[in-house]
């Protein structure tokens, strides 16, 4: 009998092997359990490392220049735009565009309430390119164009109340509009060419039997990109960033990292309970990065503006989180500066410390 057979014969029958041991007196089952525990620990640790990979950046307030003119006060600032030197703010209450230096000093304002040339009624969007200032003159149902000094330089009517406007180059404007919910096939995006010629309309409004639900599902944010591309983010219910070419062709959809989480809100009215999934309160884009502010719970069950900006790269990955000192309603970003409107409608300037 060879040595191994002798050993088996000695220890017992092969159909019921004795408990094998794995060093230090440990049984095989105990060892397997240990391996499972260890692998779970490693997985948890690597998950934790992933969470830690998200950097946390602080935003420090920059002391803005003191503005004593009454005109410098913002009544209802609804849109911000930057050019090389200035910040432009569309103020719907004062029916004006107010211009500030990038350190927050008030420079000038133009526009006043009315329906004539150079007059505005509820300006809700502003964009600047090539020394021209384009204004969504919402309740006059038109786009108005000004030069840098605020002199009117024409404009054209549009068949809807223009909400935001984005200049995509000389004479090409992307205009957003809120759907009325009364017609099928309303479009959220419109591209106009020179002299107000409609070039393209797209992104059909979502519609269901609940117009209130649809109103929220159709709220979008637009971020201009490079080479006339632009990006669309839905404020609720959808976590993808849509990329469009300047011609209106959809170029891609990028799902956003789930660590920028949905914030649910139960809708209060009739019928079966509907839940809105709040995704983004405001958005901006700068140097290839998206800055999305997540809505945050306010007054118990409501959702309001947040104070955290998720920095998302072009692949949808969460790169960092910027903690702001206060909630902001809207903002634009340029390099390390965030120009924002706070809860009181005041202009705030923050420096991101990476």
């Amino acid at each position: 009998m060879i040595e191994a057979e002798r050993a088996l014969a000695f220890e017992g029958p092969p159909c019921r092997p004795a408990k094998s041991t794995v060093g230090m007196g440990m049984t095989r089952r105990a060892a397997e359990a240990m391996v499972v525990i260890l692998s779970l620990t490693v997985a948890a640790a690597s998950g934790g490392a992933k969470e830690q990979a998200v950097e946390r950046w602080k935003a420090v307030e920059v002391a803005a220049a003191a503005n004593e003119a009454d005109e410098a006060l913002l009544g209802r600032p609804l849109s911000l735009a930057l050019d090389a030197e200035c910040l432009y703010v569309a103020d719907a209450q004062d029916c004006a565009v107010k211009v500030f230096s990038k350190d927050g000093r008030f420079l000038r304002a133009f526009g006043r309430k009315g329906r004539g040339p150079g007059e505005l009624t509820f300006p809700s969007g502003v964009s600047v390119v090539g020394g021209r200032v384009y204004v969504a003159d919402k309740l006059n149902y038109r786009i108005q164009i000004f030069d840098g000094e605020g002199k009117p330089r024409g404009g054209y009517p549009v068949p809807f109340a223009p909400d935001k406007v984005f200049a995509m180059g000389a004479e090409t404007l992307l205009i957003t509009g809120n759907p009325t919910g009364r017609r099928a096939g309303e479009m959220l995006l419109h591209i106009y060419g020179d002299a107000g010629r409609l070039r393209w309309e797209g992104l059909e409004a979502r519609s269901s039997s609940d117009p209130m639900y649809d109103t929220f599902r159709n709220m979008i944010l637009v971020c201009p990109g490079e080479e006339k591309d632009f990006y669309v983010v839905f404020r609720s219910g959808d976590r993808t960033i849509l990329r469009f070419a300047g011609t209106g062709v959809l170029r891609g959809k990028t799902p956003v990292d789930e660590r920028h989480a949905f914030r649910p809100l139960d809708m209060p009215f009739k019928g079966p309970k509907k839940r809105l999934l709040g995704f983004c309160w405001a958005a901006a884009r700068d140097r290839g990065l998206f800055y999305l502010s997540a809505p945050e719970p306010v007054d118990g069950k409501d959702l309001g503006p947040g104070r955290r900006l998720s920095v998302i790269d072009k692949d949808g990955r969460l790169q960092a989180v910027v903690e702001l000192p206060c909630p902001v309603h809207r903002f634009v970003v340029e390099e390390d500066r965030v120009f924002a409107i706070d809860d009181e409608g005041g202009l705030r300037i923050f420096e991101i410390v990476r």
């Binding site: 909400d163 209130m212 009215f269 309001g304």
Partner: protein, 72 residues
Amino acid sequence: MKKLAILALAGLVLVSAALFFPMAAAGHDVNECDRDHRDCRENVLNMDAPWYKVMIFLTVCDIGLGKCILFM
């Protein structure tokens, strides 16, 4: 007594609503009601208010539209 209180409250709410919304002047047509409603919605959607409040104000716009059409 309880029913009376409920009726009184309901009446008060209706009267308040009727007084609160601007009266549609005679000669308003349905297009004007529509346009007012659109403007009301646009105003609310740019309120910067939390979403629950926005829903309530949008409902107020819808009530205003109903009233405008009823009193046309």
